[in-house]
């Protein structure tokens, strides 16, 4: 077997094992935590009878492993069970919301990825000069902000009548003020939807851009400091040729890996931002049901987030393997 294929298969297998292990942690780990699950859900005032009913409803009378495999079997066939609080079918509730979450994250990615790479290139090209220091300084600040703090700064700036919104309004011909909520509902058109998510997208871009840009800068600088770049310069090639033909092929793998890792980061950022803007999607659904202590929903949604995260990390690794000439062309 070709060594690259072998490595990729190994990585895929590792990803699967991780997924399985995560499902076990999410299901069985919760079991292992101290406290009576039924009690936690019903509260201190619950009658013994109500508690017993709840235990039976949750299947708590059966051994944990049995329930884990039943649950896992359900997950694999798309049956995520019923929510405790309203008996709604979890899979159905998730479907629409997952789409909304992916739409939001996708929009943020579509803007932040090219922007981060361009800014990273500029910072790397002018490393140590004012352009670099400016970009680094600004991004150091945004890195220190949690998502919700960034969100309220943005809301304060863009939803009020101030110089900024007036300027925007003057350019776009509207009021320039944006709504601090992001309402979406089924049947909405693509453009309407896009219009609705402008603010959350801005926040997500702000939060994810800094990390991605800094890592891109580091990856490119790392390549640009290689001896073979000096060789190319001493061949009298133009700066564009040096970057395009010599730096770029070697920078693809680290940059793609940076992008993937930050997409994984975006998945988490989305949870908080959805809550801030009341965006009806997976993150808000999760937080709602954590508050309601609706365990089956929390486990199902948690598993989905974990899966997305693991798959993105796995893709980053696989792209790294594929882009490595030493592995692609073995001795």
């Amino acid at each position: 077997m070709h060594p690259v294929l072998k490595l990729v298969v190994q990585r895929l297998a590792l990803g699967l094992i991780l997924l399985l292990a995560c499902s076990a942690v999410i299901f069985l780990g919760v079991e292992a935590l101290p406290g009576d699950t039924a009690q936690a859900i019903m509260g201190q005032s619950a009658t013994p009878q109500a508690l017993a009913n709840m235990r039976e409803k949750m299947g708590l009378d059966q051994p944990p492993l049995t329930r884990y495999f039943q649950w896992l079997g359900g997950v694999l066939t798309g049956d995520l069970g019923l929510a405790l609080t309203n008996d709604a079918d979890i899979a159905q509730s998730i479907g629409q919301r997952l789409g909304n979450t992916l739409f939001l994250a996708g929009c943020a990615a579509a803007i932040s990825v090219p922007l981060a790479i361009i800014l990273g290139l500029i910072a790397a090209r002018h490393a140590g000069k004012w352009q670099d220091k400016l970009i680094s300084g600004v991004t150091l600040t945004t890195i220190s902000l949690p998502e919700f703090v960034a969100a309220y700064f943005v809301i304060f700036l863009l939803t009020q009548d101030n110089v900024l919104t007036q300027a925007i309004g003057w350019v776009t011909g509207g009021s320039g003020r944006l709504l601090p909520v992001a309402m979406v509902f089924p049947g909405m058109g693509f453009w309407e939807r896009l219009n609705a998510v402008i603010l959350p997208v801005i926040v997500l871009v702000l939060v994810v851009l800094a990390h991605m840009m800094r890592m891109t800068r580091a990856a490119i600088l790392n390549v640009m400091q290689s001896a073979y770049i000096e060789t190319a310069e001493l061949k009298g090639l133009s700066p564009m040729t040096v970057i395009w033909r010599h730096a770029f092929p070697n920078a693809i793998a680290p940059v793609v890996s940076v992008v993937m890792l930050n997409m994984a980061y975006l998945v988490v950022g989305v949870v908080v931002v959805e809550v801030v803007f009341g965006y009806n999607a997976l993150g808000q659904y999760l937080v709602d049901h954590v508050t309601k202590r609706d365990l089956p929903v929390v486990q199902a949604v948690g598993l989905i987030f974990a899966a997305v995260y693991i798959v993105l990390n796995m893709l980053a690794d696989i792209i790294g393997i594929l882009a490595n000439p030493r592995l692609r062309h073995p001795k």
């Binding site: 601090p180 954590v290 929390v298």
Partner: protein
Amino acid sequence: MRLPFTQTRLPLAAFIGLSLTGIFLFCAVFAQWIAPYPIDMAVGGVWESPSAKYWLGTDTIGRDILSRLIYGGQITIFVALASSALAFSLGAFFGFFAAVNGGWIDQTLSRIVDLMMAIPSLIVALVMLSVLPLNLTVLILVIGVLDSTRVFRLSRAVAVDIAVMDYVEAAKLRGEGGAWVIFREILPNALSPLVAEFGLRFIFAVLFISTLSFLGLGIQPPLADWGGMVKENKDGLVYGKSAALVPAFAIAALAISVNLVADWVLTRTSSLKGGRGG
């Protein structure tokens, strides 16, 4: 013996970071004496603007924001310190343990940490908090345990790097015991990255507890930390009331200033390695 930290020139960024961090810590420790009003008493009108009486204005039910900010800082910093200290002791202990022992101990611990890091911390925390009671101890434990994985990776990597150095081999060849090797050869050289890491872990814990409180899953009323204060006052923003921005700003300021300090510690001490010892 000369101390490695003498004749230090303090860069501006580090100075700003150190003084801000100092002010935050001071307010947190002496909150009870500094705060002009009690934490949970409506003393004025709703969302009053800053005035001589209420320096930062009042909040959604007329409580003094400055007082709540000071008390909130106490809780935020306490939880963050406690959980990062827990993360640190756990992570550093097991990290060194894995690095020094190697073999199956290292493998097992490393795989467990890999697994814990395969799921985003916030998601794990949410799953755990859906079952656990919401109190300070639980929050500190959850944040501390989740965060210890990063400390584990760092301290293990640092210790492994140092353990292969010739001077460690020389100590083993001399016949030194494990305690000398760990405490006299490895630890002094691992200290600087670990100190800087403590700063980063602290920031992470601040952001984490703030986020949880903002989601309503952290500190519960009537206590309030900064994240919770943002949550309480967020609706005012739509009416142009900036009460929510004050705690938000405090979170950012604390995170940035600790970041600056950690940055300085890292460059200051890493330069010692290759540069002059003086």
